[in-house]
């Protein structure tokens, strides 16, 4: 896999380097220039001091030497400055470009992709990987080339001084070439393993923080600490193994060239002693070792820089992996089709809808079904409120996700306003629909920003994702829409927040209770003024009195809006005109609540609040003492 072409991987970076290559090349030249100046300064010094001062020269000679060295010194500093000046901005721009393009790609990719990858995986690609790439761009790649150039120049110099010694010195490179790849394999193995283990540790941390209430309620902090400790210990031992491998390599990297140099010293001394036959002078031997000393640094750093290059390659591969993943849910225009846009009515039709999660294992369902939805058919008329009822895990929430195309059906079709949802432009389709999810997601923004998420609020005038609709509230009405939506969802607690509707909530702001979040999510769905409203058990976290109030206001507000709502209790069903009963992946009965109670035994079973409640009623009537 690593053999899978460093060059072809690098070529994929082309688009990000657009317009930045010239600056980068200038930076490279500055870097090489600085290295060459650094290499020359000692040589020049030696020549200057020896030739200028040797034979009783005057003060002028000293001044000349000082002038030249001053000039070279300033040049070196200047070139180093130039390298950074040229390279840092384009590298950071390329990093930012990769980062933002990755983000844009990710927001386009379907929900299925996200649930398969997990936010943590994506985050490490978006942040740590790209930081590493920037460092490689700005430093690693540049220095690798510079070091190689310096080595070539140095070896050429040495070759002219003593071909025999240089050849002996190069022999040291042979074992390094042999152990190098072996080392890389081992090192890569350990660093992958420890990266993965670091992920495990991070997961343990994340869970311990998110599950803190459970851990505290059962006093299992110690238990969690044990689990964490063993993972952290594993991480430590992997890191130590990695260091042991590295230690062997570093030792070899010093041992081999240095012992060979010691050998060179022996041979060189013998050669100089027999100058008549070998022709090697003392000066040449000294110069050979001086150059070898200067080369030490580039030789040592090449190993490190190559390591960095391979890590950078992994980072690029990981980036490409995301960028290349197929977007299965896209507007027809993406594959050259012409999107349809039928007049907005609010009709939903499910025709023989089949669905299973892409990564679901076969036979994963308790009753042996292979698909979660197994031919569900249902029509919701414009303006109608339909409740969707089923047993545990019956696929009701999944069904809601299919309508705004958060997932695509695996068979059959979902139609909105008479057209298959896959023929709509996504923005057009989704602007007709608003959803309140089971787990209300709020963002770090004001209450206003969260509730008005589906409106023109904070959108550009020409936002292509907000196509014009007659029903959509205009910019002027937003305050009114906000107040109305909050009123219907009974979110009057907002008034008591420190800054009212402008209070920041979410990860970076005030944390709200489950019930409060749910009411804001409901208000958000209402504020979008959609023609189709999808509510996933919207009142589950509300207490009965609040639920009662919200139900009454919702009934009023839902007038004329097609609503499909997942209900888990009778009080929610009460909102609906008709009820659809989902069982084993199919819609088995549709009718009013009363009709279904009469006609369907299954519905009665699902709807009855069970023996305990009946028992209480009996108890209430019978209990003589009260």
């Amino acid at each position: 896999m690593q053999q899978n072409g460093l060059w072809s991987t690098l070529r994929r970076l082309g688009p990000y380097l657009e317009g930045r290559r010239v600056r980068w090349a200038l930076g490279l030249f500055s870097a090489i220039g600085a290295a060459v100046v650094a290499l020359t300064i000692p040589q020049v010094l030696q020549v200057l001091v020896n030739s200028v001062l040797a034979e009783g020269a005057g003060a002028a000679a000293v001044w000349t030497a000082v002038g030249i060295i001053l000039l070279l010194g300033a040049l070196e500093a200047g070139l180093i400055y130039m390298r950074r000046f040229f390279v840092i901005p384009p590298s950071s721009d390329a990093e930012t470009a990769m980062r933002t393009r990755l983000f844009d790609r990710l927001t386009d990719l379907p929900t299925a992709f996200h649930s398969a990858w997990g936010a943590g995986q994506l985050q490490s690609r978006a942040i740590a990987d790209l930081n590493l790439l920037r460092r490689w761009f700005a430093f690693g790649a540049l220095m690798l080339i510079t070091s190689i150039v310096a080595m070539l120049v140095g070896f050429t110099l040495m070759l002219t001084l003593s071909p025999l010694l240089t050849l002996v010195f190069l022999v040291a490179a042979v074992p390094i070439l042999i152990i190098g790849p072996r080392f890389r394999r081992l090192f890569v193995h350990y660093s992958r393993a420890s990266q993965d283990q670091a992920g495990e540790v991070a997961t343990a941390v994340e869970e311990s923080v998110h599950g803190i209430r459970v851990l505290k309620a059962f006093g299992r902090g110690g238990h969690a600490l044990e689990g964490f400790t063993s993972r952290a210990d594993e991480l430590r031992s992997l890191e130590v193994s990695k260091a042991h491998t590295l230690a062997r390599f570093l030792a070899a990297m010093v041992l081999l060239p240095e012992t060979i140099l010691g050998l060179c010293l022996l041979i060189g001394l013998w050669q100089v002693a027999n100058e008549e036959t070998t022709g090697i002078t003392v000066g040449a031997l000294a110069a050979f070792f001086a150059t070898a000393a200067v080369l030490k640094q580039p030789i040592e750093s090449v190993g490190m820089l190559l390591g960095m290059t391979f890590t950078a390659k992994t980072a690029i591969d990981r980036h490409i992996e995301v960028m290349d993943s197929e977007n299965t849910i896209a507007s027809p225009a993406a594959h050259g089709g012409e999107p349809v846009s039928p007049p907005e009515q609010g009709r939903i039709e499910l025709k023989d809808v089949r669905f299973s999660y892409p990564d679901a294992e076969p036979d994963a369902l308790p009753d042996g079904r292979s698909e979660l939805l197994d031919g569900a058919t249902l029509t919701v008329e414009p303006g109608e409120t339909m409740a969707l009822v089923s047993g545990t895990g019956g696929g009701t929430s999944t069904l809601l996700n299919l309508i705004p195309r958060l997932y695509d059906v695996t068979g059959g079709s979902v139609q909105v306003d008479g057209a298959d949802v896959r023929e709509f432009d996504l923005a057009d389709l989704r602007s007709r629909i608003a959803v309140a999810f089971e787990d209300p997601t709020l963002f770090s923004a004001s209450v206003r920003g969260n509730v008005l998420l589906g409106t023109v609020h904070e959108r550009d005038e020409d936002d292509s994702q907000h196509p014009p609709r007659s029903q959509a509230p205009g910019r002027k009405d937003l305050d009114e829409v906000l107040a109305e939506a909050l009123r219907i969802a009974d979110a009057d607690f907002v008034e008591n927040l420190p800054e009212g509707v402008d209070t920041r909530i979410g990860e970076e702001g005030l944390s709200l209770s489950g019930g409060q979040r749910q009411r804001l999510a409901l208000a958000r769905a209402i504020a979008a003024r959609p023609s189709i409203l999808l509510l996933d058990d919207p009142l589950s976290a509300l207490d009965v009195r609040t639920e009662e109030r919200v139900t009454a206001r919702l009934r009023e507000a839902l007038e004329g809006t097609t609503t499909l709502l997942v209900a888990h209790r009778p009080s929610t069903v009460a909102l609906a005109d008709r009820v659809a009963l989902l069982h084993q992946g199919r819609v088995v009965a549709v009718g009013t609540h009363t009709e279904l109670l009469e006609s369907s035994a299954l519905y009665r079973k699902v709807m009855s609040t069970g023996a305990a409640a009946a028992g209480v009623d009996a108890l209430l009537e019978e209990a003589p003492h009260g």
Partner: protein, 622 residues
């Protein structure tokens, strides 16, 4: 900030606004404030090094000797030419063998020591990191919920991941390169002094502008680093929020808007980053320039002395070359300084977190309670949220009250959202302690009760039924880690979730994070019931734990619930009639007070809030 009057400072802690996690978002700090935070960070490092100090010392020694060996090689070459060659030409072979073997010996010693100190550094630094990881983890587990409610989970996680990562970078690579650089510089500077003290003087003079430069860099880069950390944190939060909330983003067509904001945050981060790197871009060439100017000065001064014959030409060559070399490691040291900066910024926050004290702690001499009957007593109990970072207490959540719950009673608590129902539960579970008065179990004040016994006797199931990655079995076993397989299955059976678990792809071994193990909210809740059943506490608290149950499972669970409650004392916070119906007694809570208290029938007969509630429920059953 720092210009407080002296009296103020002695009267109260002048750094109170910096204690713990307070003030960690601040970018500009005064000199004293910086010193305070620095000291705290360094103290943490010193403490962590306990137990590995000998290893660190040996490492330093190994670095010293290995560097000395490497620095000696040019001297050996010089020795070979000046001393060895004449001997060799006279036919004495020792002139060849002596320097040659000395050179090889140096190479071998250096390599062997490199091998050892690379290993030892990693072992020591990993040991320190491991200890710190554990300590931070333990601390976050210890900290009370009021802390967690204030300090978002994202922050806690980044303290434990990215902050520790930058410390790892420092300990792993940085320290070695610093030691190497310093040793090399010392050796070179020493040899310059030996050859010619005047040139040595010039070298010392060069340290003055370098010190100023370092000071300037330190001051600016510290601020720049803090700024970068803050902007990167913002960017990460936005990223994670968008990706975890991707359904909402797509459903409400916010991709464009989210993207625009992300572009903006990424740009701010980029600018902060470039600004911070640019500081180094001034620092590095300036160091090189100072070095080269010093070389020129040595050449100038030495040159004129050489003209006068006071200084040998050979010595002058050696001097200028050594001066040039002496500045080489400065680069490396500056780079080390960079990773030090980022690690310090991280340490500042980590040490702040470690400084936080849990508000709920175990008594110094806790009372044990082997068997609990489950009798609960609130006497004169009052609760107000402690306002974080100040002395002023927050608003009263629970008014002063007395409440007696006899052992074995099932009590339902109802009331509006935010009326204070959950507070009752949280006080019993000791997520918080009362601000005044007391809560006791079997006559023992909860604050006096041994924490372990408290956990054994009181368990709570919350609305968010959190499952940890791992098998269903492990998740249930969390209630009692030493439970046998049979006990786990019995618990699952008791709450009616056994059949469902059996139907999962791998039964009890199904990993709940894999797709096949996708559990609905209701199923998760049942698993958490099994967990509580297994824990077998004398007092059970259900905090809105029944609200996400689906309809059919609710019937199942009604039976399971009754079995779960058994003869335990139970406090059930619920807003469903079916759950409230099984209670012996109902408490209606409003605005932090108990306004109604009695059996369900009594309350219905009395015609108060509960009676109205009950009729509303009846209606909704339609």
């Amino acid at each position: 900030m720092a210009e407080q009057t002296p009296q103020d400072q002695t009267a109260q802690d002048p750094y109170r606004h910096l204690r713990g996690t307070a003030g960690e978002e601040r970018v500009e700090l005064s000199r004293e404030e910086r010193k305070f935070i620095r000291r705290r960070s360094w103290w943490l490092l010193v403490r962590l090094s306990e137990g590995v100090r000998l290893k660190l010392l040996l490492t330093a020694l190994a670095v010293l000797v290995s560097q000395a060996c490497q620095a000696a090689t040019p001297l050996i070459v010089a020795f070979a030419i000046d001393w060895g060659l004449p001997r060799l030409t006279e036919g004495q072979s020792s002139g060849m063998w002596l320097p040659g073997t000395a050179y090889i010996a140096c190479a071998v010693i250096a390599a062997v020591l490199i091998f050892f100190y690379t290993r030892m550094t990693a072992e020591a630094s990993q040991q320190m990191l491991y200890r710190l990881r554990r300590e931070v983890f333990r601390k976050t587990q210890q900290l009370s919920l009021d802390f967690h409610e204030d300090y978002t989970s994202g922050k806690v996680i980044s303290r434990q991941t990215s902050d520790l990562e930058s410390l790892r970078e420092l300990l792993d690579g940085g320290v070695n390169s610093l030691a190497q650089g310093l040793v090399f510089m010392t050796f070179t500077a020493g040899s310059i002094w030996l050859m010619d003290w005047r040139s040595g003087l010039l070298l010392v003079a060069a340290m003055i502008p370098i010190a100023f430069l370092a000071r300037w860099y330190q001051k600016n880069s510290e601020v720049a680093y803090r700024r970068t950390r803050i902007s990167s944190a913002r960017m990460i939060v936005h990223f994670v929020e968008t990706m975890t909330g991707i359904r909402a983003v797509q459903a409400f067509r916010r991709e464009g808007a989210r993207s625009r904001q992300y572009h903006r945050l990424a740009k701010i981060y980029r600018d902060d980053m470039v600004r911070s790197i640019s500081l180094f871009g001034i620092m590095q060439p300036s160091l090189v320039l100072i070095g080269n100017l010093t070389v020129t000065a040595v050449l100038l001064w030495g040159g004129f002395r050489a003209l006068d014959g006071d200084l040998g030409v050979g010595v002058l060559v050696a001097l200028v070359l050594a001066t040039k070399r002496a500045f080489q490691p400065l680069d490396m040291i500056a780079m080390f300084y960079n990773s030090l900066q980022s690690a310090t910024a991280a340490l500042e926050k980590v040490s702040g977190l470690l400084e936080e004290d849990p508000t709920v702690t175990e008594a110094e001499q806790p009372q044990g309670l082997e068997q609990a009957r489950g009798e609960l007593e609130f006497s004169d109990a009052e609760f107000r949220y402690p306002a974080h970072g100040t002395d002023d207490a927050g608003p009263v959540v629970l008014q002063r009250m007395d409440l007696h719950i006899p052992a074995g009673q099932t009590v339902a608590v109802v009331g509006r959202t935010g009326a204070g129902k959950s507070t009752l539960a949280k006080l019993l579970a000791r997520f918080y302690d009362v601000s005044s008065g007391s809560v006791s179990l079997d006559g023992i004040d909860l604050r006096e009760l041994a924490v372990e016994d408290h956990h054994r006797h009181v368990a709570m199931v919350t609305q968010e039924a959190f499952l940890f990655s791992g098998s269903v079995r492990e998740n249930i076993a969390l209630g009692r880690p030493d439970a046998t397989e049979e006990e786990i299955i019995a618990a699952a059976r008791a709450v009616g979730v056994h059949e469902f678990i059996e139907a999962l792809p791998a039964g009890y071994s199904t990993d709940v994070t894999t797709r096949g193990g996708r559990l609905s909210a209701g199923q998760r809740q049942l698993v958490s019931f099994a967990r509580a059943f297994l824990a077998d506490p004398a007092v059970l608290i259900l905090d809105e734990a029944t609200s996400s149950l689906d309809l059919p499972s609710e019937q199942l669970v009604q039976q399971g619930l009754e079995r779960l409650l058994g003869r335990r004392t139970a406090l059930i916070i619920a807003h469903r009639l079916s759950t409230v119906a099984i209670a012996d007694r109902v408490l209606v809570v409003d605005e932090g007070r108990i306004v109604e208290d009695g059996s369900p029938d009594e309350l219905i007969a009395a015609g108060g809030y509960f009676a109205r509630l009950h009729s509303a429920w009846q209606n909704s059953l339609g």
